[in-house]
Symmetry: C3
């Protein structure tokens, strides 16, 4: 298994390519995570737009460099809007990231809807271990949006899901695992406080979309976004104590990572 760290030049180059190309990245996400997701994209140098405002759903996914859909966006958008965005991205050839937050947590109708989006061929599926095991058809049970399984447990399920859907599957945890079914990349590091910042996982979906555009590759894009996240979280963690200032420092570090690399 390959290990990716911020020391890898290919990772740093991939991250710098976000700021260099400054792609328009469009997403549907839930309103808890929307602010952080936009700020993470801006920190990395992308230009975000979020939400199902009028005919944005039919025009923006076609014009965007990349798209992400967090299925908890159903809390303010209808199923038709999510399908519209996924279908438009798929038909236009815009790569999109599926973030199936809280799938497998006990809401059967929601879970079924999440699965139905696989028809539109996401480039990357990202989530925590519980979510990805549930999506893969395993029986890990989440507790609301929290994970109750470890990311290592999820690797076999993730590889199977990747093979079946032809998507790259990225599992977040103490160590992240990213697989296309054949190759698997391990991303160590990070900081456990990320799990105590709401929307940090959702914002990683947004950043992954930007990185897939910037690198032109689903596996490499997911590796870049997850490795940058781990590096920024470590740096933020080293200089903060509470979860509030950790979250602020995390966005700081992402914005400085991007600037440093873009200027290098």
């Amino acid at each position: 298994m390959t290990v990716s760290t911020w020391q890898d030049a290919s990772v740093r180059d991939g991250f710098a390519a976000i700021a260099k190309h400054s792609p328009f990245v469009y997403g549907l996400t839930n309103y808890i995570a929307a602010n952080l997701s936009a700020n993470v994209l801006l920190a990395a140098g992308a230009g975000p737009a979020i939400g199902a405002a009028s005919d944005w759903t039919t025009t923006f996914p076609a014009g965007a460099g990349a798209v992400w859909i967090n299925t908890a966006s159903l809390m303010s958008s209808d199923e038709q809007s999510l399908r519209q965005v996924a279908r438009t991205a798929h038909e236009a050839g815009t790569p999109w990231v599926l973030d199936p937050v809280a799938v497998g947590a006990g809401a059967a109708q929601y879970d079924e809807f999440v699965r139905s989006l696989l028809e539109f061929r996401p480039a990357v599926i990202r989530g925590n271990a519980s979510e990805l095991i549930a999506l893969a058809g395993g029986d890990a049970t989440g507790k609301g949006v929290e994970t109750t399984a470890s990311s290592a447990d999820a690797v076999a399920h993730a590889a199977g899901l990747a093979t079946r859907t032809r998507a790259v599957v990225a599992v977040s945890g103490p160590v992240d695992y990213i697989t296309d079914g054949t190759r698997t990349v391990e991303v160590p590091g990070g900081d456990a406080r990320l799990t105590r910042v709401t929307g940090a996982g959702c914002a990683l979906g947004a950043l992954t979309a930007a990185a897939v555009f910037a690198t032109g590759d689903a596996l490499q894009g997911a590796v870049v976004s997850h490795t940058a996240y781990a590096a920024a979280a470590e740096r933020a963690g080293a200089r903060t104590a509470g979860t509030g200032s950790f979250a602020v420092a995390f966005v700081d570090e992402l914005s400085l990572l991007g600037r440093r690399e873009a200027n290098a």
Copy 2:
């Protein structure tokens, strides 16, 4: 009247019980306050989920340890969803907190809907003085979501409301008052800047739900959440000047309170 402070071992134990049990707490809240509410719950050690995404409204209130409903969530959810969550919580025996934000501010149809939720027997009702006087049938008039009455003025109304609804009623203000109609607990302290951080009151509703679960008691839960809030606000206020860094420091202090007590 009893006075509660962070020096009370029962308060510290009650707060530590949140991190110890890490309950799944589900809520419907408005999108202005949703992010802070989730971060406050995570800081205290609970696992939040928010929003009316598909059938979450019928499954999550039954599986959750506690629920909160902020009625301004009507800005992104329909009345049926709020009623669904309240009814499901009530029928499943899940304690729930009602936060009737801006009731009495002049929107008669909204006010009537807020009152209709009392049928589902909230464990705790929390708000500022204007809101609770209005809900109790008094004629204090709020100005949007701001209070124009003092919390001390609201105590008599709060006790009446508690007796009539059999809910614990918590009034936020320079001094907070918490009453079940018979006993009243006073929570002094805090910091006036909390009123200049949007959603801080709403997030207190979320934390109260977690504390009611953790203590197994509506009155004690409300006392714990309000006292922890006052302690965190005082500590944050002692080391910040502007309202932006105060808000960050407040979440920090809540997260450190929780960690310290859980490790004690």
Copy 3:
């Protein structure tokens, strides 16, 4: 062309008038920007309420001191709610600010709806150069919510739009321009990192509404809000590096500007 800076007593007095009168300011905005918009208003001393919760849309615009409508609020409210708020404000004589975010970015149906709101006579229209050129009928093309034209390019279009709509038009950029079609005021300064804080432009619309109420004048109100923004951004920029702590420091500085002036 007049230049406005924070050194002007009329600007400082106008800003202090917000905290002095503490107006109730009501808005419809998108859920990405809602939290920051409310915190900016609270920092300045106004009392915000946001969102189309039940009959708030028909009662709050009439009772409010000022109103703002960010058209991306269509992502969680329907067209009827936005029209309701605009119509009610117009009929009640409540000044309102139109923020046509992302107009001209390629969503034709959305753009048409935005234009239809001009019927209700906003006091101020604010946006970036791309948006205002598009609204004026020019052919600058935005990229999602980002601007691709400079604010200086937009001045002629803005003056034409102001004359046609009888609204004050404010163009945000490295230098801001504010015009009623006859007089034009230039606001230099600020910090480029404001464009990397999501919702900072949207929150300026909210603050402009408060300042229009506080000064009793659309042109002066827009000059006050934009000049205070530039001053707070410069101060925040001088003491921070990353975009996360810049955003926190920006709210701090606004809250301290307000306090200092109100106490002077």
